[in-house]
Assembly symmetry: C2
């Protein structure tokens, strides 16, 4: 096998399963070259990816060592995605009765779910995330691709506990600005105690659902590694969660002009 | 840029967004070589992938032409995944009260969702699938990765219509073997008339939910391109749908021995 083909084969392996650790020993056996050759190839790939902002190639030494690829993106790429998403969501025909926005075509489009997931992974990978949590239903694609990009599992809080999930921990909470009591539950076996968890959701107004997820995590003695939402509203300014990152902020929705959004505060720093 | 680096860069582009069409013109500009050189590189990558059973590299001629990668897997790879999944699900501690199986850790693990999605994509890509449909909630990760692997959108049927999805079409149906009437709805704007749709679900007993999805598709004048489930039960043998493909078949569940599964009928052909 020529070097060009070997490099292509290694890139293929790394990219098809982000976050998964690949053994150098196994790779050297499968590709029929010495481990030192694989290491040299990886150094070259790592540098090429770093230069092009294509994500991170991480190597781990030791008996259980190996290499993994994380599709972490640079600031410029993420900003371009946020701008494109903003333009897509500002289409006037997205306005629904009640000042709501039609979002499901975007949320359930794998291309956008993957981009948003890679964005959240890029923002929070340094927080040693072990699980990604969301509550059903619309946030599932974003949480799933965030977990995919980080190479960790996702866990799903349900609106009602289900027989198919065994014993569960349930909490009750009031929706922001209303007296309606809602329930949220998570299977007892979904999360080992002490886990570090990234909380993900598609849309945040007051932050009640996200706060409920954080509260639920306390019951599992889990740590909140961060909170990431695709869209937060500008009003109310004070959310029920102390800190979060939003890709976009919804300023207002009018039937004549459509939704008006701006980039999240994180993009101001740059 | 040396040929080895260029091949690696092309593989990276193809794999990071399965199903998406990449323009040869754009690729040649970005990599700074002639289109004919890119074409030669692609021919080499296509052959290498085909030989290793790593999926399909498709090129399209013409003004809107380009190249795309579909992560379609060979029979041997899919069988190995099915065997591994079977072993994982046969763990005795998966049995829940009522003869149910704990599955959510597998369904919401991106690694398994991706493998199952690639399996369904491999089985049905020849059916010209334009959308992948599932009903909330547990089937979402499988449907999402199936759509991802096919490069098409997914659409989600809800148990109740939602204000956030605008006007919707709702149907009512009886669960298999029960008189309980259930509702299923799909946003009117989710699906253009005449679409070809692959129906995906995680678990099928009588087939009532899947039949309801097919019924819902009739309301959209859509065609059913196929039905794919991760697990079908062996009883009842007659399902409410005429044809489907299952990765695994659940024979029985006992608390002493755990779930007993076999590979789906499709694997017998080989």
């Amino acid at each position: 096998m020529k070097r060009a083909d070997r490099l292509a084969a290694i890139v293929q392996r790394l990219l098809e399963r982000p976050g998964q650790l690949h053994s150098l020993t196994q790779m050297s056996e499968e590709l029929g070259v010495a481990k030192s050759t694989i290491s040299e190839d990886l150094a070259r790939i790592r540098q090429a990816f770093a230069e092009a902002g294509l994500g991170r190639v991480e190597t781990f030494a030791g008996v259980n060592g190996g290499v993994r690829y994380l599709p972490l993106r640079g600031e410029a790429t993420i900003r371009a995605w946020a701008e494109e998403l903003r333009a897509l969501l500002q289409q006037p025909d997205r306005v629904l009765p009640g000042g709501l926005i039609y979002l499901v075509d975007v949320l359930f489009n794998p291309l956008w779910a993957q981009r948003v997931g890679e964005t959240f992974a890029s923002w929070f990978h340094a927080q040693r995330v072990e699980y990604v949590l969301t509550v059903e239903t619309r946030g599932v694609p974003l949480a799933l691709f965030t977990a995919w990009a980080l190479g960790c599992p996702m866990v799903l809080a349900r609106r009602n506990s289900r027989a198919t999930e065994g014993s569960a921990v349930s909490i009750h909470y009031a929706s922001t600005g209303s007296d309606r009591i809602q329930t949220m539950s998570l299977a007892r076996r979904a999360l080992p105690p002490g886990s570090r968890v990234l909380v993900v959701d598609d849309f945040m107004r007051g932050g009640g659902s996200v706060r409920a997820m954080c509260h639920l995590l306390e019951e599992f003695e889990a740590e909140v590694a961060g909170v990431a939402v695709m869209i937060a509203t500008s009003v109310p300014e004070e959310k029920e969660v102390p800190a979060y990152e939003a890709m976009l902020v919804l300023e207002d929705v009018t039937e004549s002009h459509g939704p008006r959004l701006r980039l999240g505060d994180r993009f101001r720093e740059g």
